[in-house]
């Protein structure tokens, strides 16, 4: 019986000792990350069945349990991965946001300074200092664009670097989890007790992994974890970890993408599979904000250079040189390296070399020609060659059956074109100048079948599909040239089924925009004047005035000078064989071959005429014998007609198919970045609150409270002391028995 007393006392002491140990362990690990508090589970020993009933045999500790809820830990992990993703995203986009923060350092003031320079030349076209200040402000505008692009490119490089580092860390964690799996399985199978601290370590690794990329876990029957990323791609299975890879993308070698090491080599993971954590944040930031930002700044640069150059080409410089003359600078901005790029996918089996090029910007004032071939009327937009055909001038439609847009302001119903002739129509509603259709998106061209090419605009997944044969790539190219602002051309080789190309219309523009070297060196080359002028004869007595004239792309100013003479009813002297279009006050236009042009049509006065890309306004009527001369604008140093049009580009809607000005597009870009930054911050805060709650809930269950542990220390101490006292009592009882004997 006394042995029972000792036994029970010892079992109590042992249990209390374990309790004390566990409490000490908790106190020691109070601030160990990922530590879940532990407690002992005590149970009674098997009682001794006697005639007097069941006699208790003391206690034993069945197990040391960690206070852990898989559900709460899962919630923490899910919130944590979102918070990490948003934090990373925010940290990155905040850099762009900060760069755009100062209203004095963005693109906007440089743009304004540049156009201020343009206006100064407009006010004083013959002043060399004004011209030099314009080219100087152009150079600083270019430098500002380079600065922004540089910063964004550096960030792109930075993202590449961070992806590589993060992937390295993920691989290391995966390996550690695999190792822990092995140790846990061994430990648990040996003792049949949970390996609490090892499991804690592994859970902590999963939490750390979730900070890098969102993973999901599944527990095997032997206690090991399987870890998956994306939609079930295996990262860790039992004791084996797969490696993630960070390699240059096949579609775009400048981009580091994430892949999984498989038996067949590294396999790129689609970006939508990489979610959560730092990696998710980086990948999402790159595709959602950084790429569009780079493209957008490029789009502004490309549109500006294209439209500015197109207008410059229509002018005449201070030395009287115009398009076609030796030494004339048709380009204000040097566009040599600004063009779109078409990157061949590394996995292509064909050797096709694809080239992309900008479409020359369409004039806003929509110059159109309307020709009549044996009763079939064809309306052609001069800028891009888009055509509408029909049996009457007013009935022309394009391939989709759509009439020319009303916004173009063409008076087709009033056009008279005899068979074999071509009339030039200009829009009445839109001012001069040019615009582009470029978008800020990348494009992908895939030959997805023997009979098909598909071009995808990646920003909104809009697709163009066209049956594939050699002749159809040009077809596709002409289709997109009217809406997307670039063309495609197979320079050499063949494109096999499955081959793809990444097309970046505007990315290179911001990096490579430059002021034309000859213009920068000699400001006289700024084409401020218009290349033509008109002059009434000194003896004219009629009231007709002829405007100084305007030119459209492809113009030809007559040389030697052309003299038009008035008869009582007509204007004669147009060059033979040239299509002359006369426009009357009521908007009617009449085409003729080499004139003469009637001064009155019905009751409507002649309001203007155009030929050879030149157009003139007419006011009042001449007297027979009056004459007018059209000639090159020799010596016109104070003419600011072209620089005036260049100046108008500042506020004209020159981008995105006449929807935004340069400044408007840039403001939109700033607002998009600002919105995205704010959105990321606000979502981040909300996620952080969720994480706080989840962590609070987990801590409430699993966290160590030192006051509680202090109480437990006292409790187990007293239990130990009580059990020890039992031994003392047992000993005294034994002594009592011994003393009876003596």
């Amino acid at each position: 019986m006394s042995s029972g007393l000792f036994g029970i006392g010892i079992s109590g002491m042992q249990a209390a000792q374990l309790g004390l140990l566990t409490t000490e362990h908790n106190v020691a690990n109070a601030s160990t990350p990922g530590y879940n508090r532990q407690r002992i589970l005590q149970a009674t020993n098997v009682p001794l069945m006697t005639g007097a009933g069941a006699v208790g045999q003391g206690t034993h500790v069945t197990t040391i349990e960690r206070m852990y809820s898989e559900f709460l830990a899962g919630q923490v992990n899910t919130s944590q991965t979102s918070v990490s993703e948003l934090d990373t995203y925010y940290g990155q986009i905040k850099q762009i946001d900060n760069m755009l923060a100062d209203p004095n350092s963005g693109l906007s003031p440089a743009l304004q300074d540049f156009f201020k320079g343009v206006q100064q030349v407009a006010a004083n076209p013959s002043s060399i200092p004004s011209r030099q200040s314009m080219t100087a402000s152009a150079s600083s505008l270019v430098a500002r664009i380079h600065g922004i692009e540089d910063r964004l490119s550096q960030m792109s490089e930075g993202v590449n670097g961070q992806i590589t580092t993060t992937v390295g860390t993920i691989n290391s964690y995966a390996q550690q989890i695999a190792n822990l799996n092995e140790r846990i399985v061994l430990a648990q199978s040996a003792s049949n007790q949970p390996a609490n601290d090892l499991v804690d370590q592994r859970d902590q690794l999963v939490t750390e992994l979730n900070k890098l990329v969102k993973v999901s876990t599944a527990t095997e029957s032997d206690g090991s974890y399987n870890v998956f990323i994306g939609t079930g791609q295996q990262l860790v299975v039992g004791t084996r970890a797969s490696a993630m890879t960070a390699t240059a993308s096949a579609a775009d070698p400048s981009r580091i993408v994430v892949g999984l090491e498989t038996a067949g080599g590294a396999q790129e993971l689609p970006e939508y599979l990489i979610t959560g954590g730092q990696l998710g944040g980086l990948v999402r930031f790159r595709s959602e904000s950084l790429d569009p930002a780079l493209n957008e700044i490029g789009r502004v640069a490309a549109s500006m250079a294209l439209t500015f150059n197109a207008q410059q080409a229509l002018g005449q410089d201070l030395q009287g040189r115009a398009a076609g003359d030796t030494g004339f600078a048709a380009n204000f901005f040097d566009m040599t390296n600004m063009g779109p790029s078409a990157i061949k996918n590394a996995h292509n089996t064909g050797n096709g070399v694809l080239q992309a090029a900008f479409v020359s910007p369409p004039p806003m004032g929509g110059t159109y020609t309307l020709s009549n071939t044996a009763g079939t009327y064809t309306l052609t937009r001069q800028s891009d060659g888009k055509t509408w055909t029909g049996a009457s001038p007013a009935g022309v439609v394009d391939a989709n059956g759509d009439a020319p847009p009303v916004s173009e302001g063409l008076n087709l119903a009033g056009a008279t074109v005899a068979p074999g002739l071509t009339a030039t129509l200009t829009s009445s509603t839109i001012p001069a100048n040019f615009y582009t259709n470029l978008t800020a998106s990348d494009y992908q061209l895939v030959r997805d079948g023997v009979g098909s090419y598909t071009l995808t605009r990646m920003s909104d997944n809009h697709k163009w599909n066209i049956p594939a044969d050699a002749a159809n790539l040009p077809g596709l190219s002409s289709l997109i040239s009217q809406t997307e602002g670039f063309t495609l051309n197979l320079a050499s080789g063949t494109i096999n089924v499955g081959d793809s190309y990444l097309i970046r219309p505007s990315r290179a523009a911001a990096r490579n925009i430059a002021v034309d070297a000859s213009v920068a060196a000699d400001a006289r080359l700024v084409a401020a004047a218009a290349p033509l002028t008109t002059r009434p004869a000194t003896g004219n007595v009629g009231k007709m005035t002829l405007s100084q004239g305007a030119v459209a792309p492809g113009y030809a100013v007559p040389s030697p000078a052309l003299t038009l003479s008035a008869t009582a009813t007509q204007l004669t002297g147009f060059p033979a064989g040239v299509n002359v279009t006369a426009v009357y006050a009521d908007g009617t236009s009449i085409a003729s071959n080499g004139g003469p042009v009637n001064l009155v049509n019905g009751t409507s006065q002649l309001a203007g005429f155009s030929f050879n890309g030149m157009s003139f306004d007419v006011n009042g009527s001449p007297v027979a014998g009056d004459s007018f001369t059209i000639e090159r604008n020799a010596g016109g140093v104070d003419d600011g007609r072209n620089i005036f049009l260049l100046g108008k580009l500042q506020t004209a809607n020159t981008m995105g198919g006449r929807t935004a000005s340069y400044q408007g597009a840039y403001a939109q870009f700033v607002s998009t970045i600002g919105n995205k930054t704010r959105e990321t911050q606000v979502t981040g805060e909300a996620q952080q609150a969720l994480l706080d709650q989840a962590q609070g809930a987990r801590e409430a269950l699993s966290g160590v409270n030192l006051d509680e542990e202090a109480a437990n220390l006292l409790r187990y101490q007293q239990a130990y002391q009580a059990s020890a006292k039992m031994l003392d009592i047992g000993n005294k009882l034994f002594d009592t028995v011994l003393s009876i004997r003596s």
Partner: protein, 416 residues
């Protein structure tokens, strides 16, 4: 609720950090005076501010251009004012020269003055602006627009400029002409009364003087010649063709002659009627003409005046000489009148434009103020609110620091 010890520490520091973050941002806003520190603070406002900024800069550019246009126009106006004064002075001399009591010597003195005036006119016509660009050369600002060849009395002025009109953008959608080509002002001056011009043949021997004439109901652009068959009768030919059958009309000294639709008509009858008068006593064989107005440059007119004044009296009779001189002076005076009309028309135009500029500048200043207000509303900090936020935030931070300090000191271990 069960609270773990690390939670107390973690949350305490987290809250202090958050409060510090808010305080830092407020401090930043207060020290820069900007409400929007980065576009994320107000993306729409930031974009709006960019647009307003551009509009403001464009507006200020327009105001610069307005000032520029104003000074250009003032310069042109000054010179044209000089030109109109000059023309009026010369007209006085023409009236003086018509006085029959002047001697050849007197006229020669007048001619000397007109020669000076000719040079002065040329000076105005070739005037340049502050940067050395010729005002009246059209687009050819660095080409001297007017050149003269020949000797006084037989000089030819040539215009080397072009017809370009320099324009400045002074407002959205308003381009203002700030120059006038010299050809418009000096070269293309309609002669006579602007529609037709009367004249007497140089070989006339009588003392008939023809008036400038006027349009009554219209002019048919025909050339008419009145040939005196006797001092009191004349016949008419139209475009060089004598009337058929010939009609002889009676001449009355100073009486109005009306021509309408190709013949002499009673006053105020029919369409295309013009009226003029001949006074004095024409000799048999004298002819007078009516022709559509042609253009002649102002320099030529002055030169003709010099020539007329310097021509000695060589007529068969003093009356005939005087009549010939008066006929020439009438034509010259008409030419000067038309030139003055021309200049005054341009000056009126310029005056109207300067007035417009004044009002545009007023509007521009108002708009500028408006933009500044908009920009301030978008970007500037509300200091009162920010300062009150700042003290609130300070209090919160202090409270969280103090409470953390006290909570973290509580531990059961302290009492064991």
């Amino acid at each position: 609720m069960r609270v773990s010890t690390s939670q107390i520490f973690d949350n305490g520091t987290l809250n202090i950090q958050r409060n510090q973050g808010s305080l830092f941002k407020l401090q930043n806003q207060l020290s820069t005076g900007r409400r929007i520190l980065a576009p994320e603070d107000d993306p729409i406002g930031a974009a709006e501010a960019l647009k307003v900024n551009q509009s403001m800069s464009v507006n200020s550019q327009f105001m610069d251009n307005q000032a520029n246009a104003g000074s250009q126009l003032a310069l042109v106006e000054d010179h044209l004012g000089g030109v109109s004064n000059l023309i009026m002075d010369v007209q006085e001399r023409v009236v003086q020269a018509g006085n029959g009591s002047l001697t050849d010597q007197d006229r020669a003195t007048l001619a000397t003055e007109i020669r000076q005036r000719y040079e002065e006119l040329l000076g105005h016509a070739n005037s340049a602006d502050g940067s050395g660009q010729y005002l009246f050369a059209g687009y050819r600002g660095s080409t001297q627009p007017f050149g003269v060849t020949g000797v006084p009395g037989n000089r030819t002025a040539t215009y080397y400029g072009d017809e370009g009109v320099r324009q400045l953008q002074v407002e959205n959608g308003r381009q203002m002409a700030v120059s006038q080509p010299g050809s418009d002002i000096f070269m293309r001056v309609r002669q006579g009364n602007g529609t037709f011009m009367t004249g007497a043949a140089a070989a006339n021997t009588g003392s008939g003087v023809i008036s400038t004439g006027s349009v009554v109901t219209g002019y048919d652009n025909n050339a008419y010649t009145l040939t005196f068959t006797s001092p009191t009768t004349y016949t008419l030919s139209v475009n060089g063709v004598p009337e058929a059958p010939p009609v002889t009309y009676n001449y009355s000294d100073g009486g109005t002659i009306n021509i309408g639709n190709g013949t002499i008509v009673a006053p105020n009858t029919g369409t295309n009627q013009i009226a003029f008068s001949i006074s004095g006593t024409p000799a048999t064989g004298d002819t007078f003409t009516v022709n559509p107005s042609t253009n002649q440059d102002l320099f030529k007119t002055l030169d003709q005046l010099i020539k007329t004044l310097e021509s000695p009296s060589t007529g068969p009779t003093p009356d005939a000489t005087q009549a010939a001189r008066r006929n020439q002076l009438t034509a010259i005076s008409d030419g000067l009148d038309r030139a003055l009309d021309n200049v005054l028309k341009v000056r009126t135009d310029i005056g109207a434009r300067r007035l417009e500029l004044d009002s545009l500048t007023n509007v521009g200043q108002d708009v500028d103020l408006q933009f500044k207000g908009d920009l301030s509303r978008l970007q500037d900090l509300d200091y009162a609110k920010a300062i009150s936020d700042m003290s609130k935030q300070q209090m919160t931070l202090q409270a969280s620091q103090l409470s953390f300090k006290q909570t973290s000191q509580l531990s059961l271990f302290n009492m064991l």
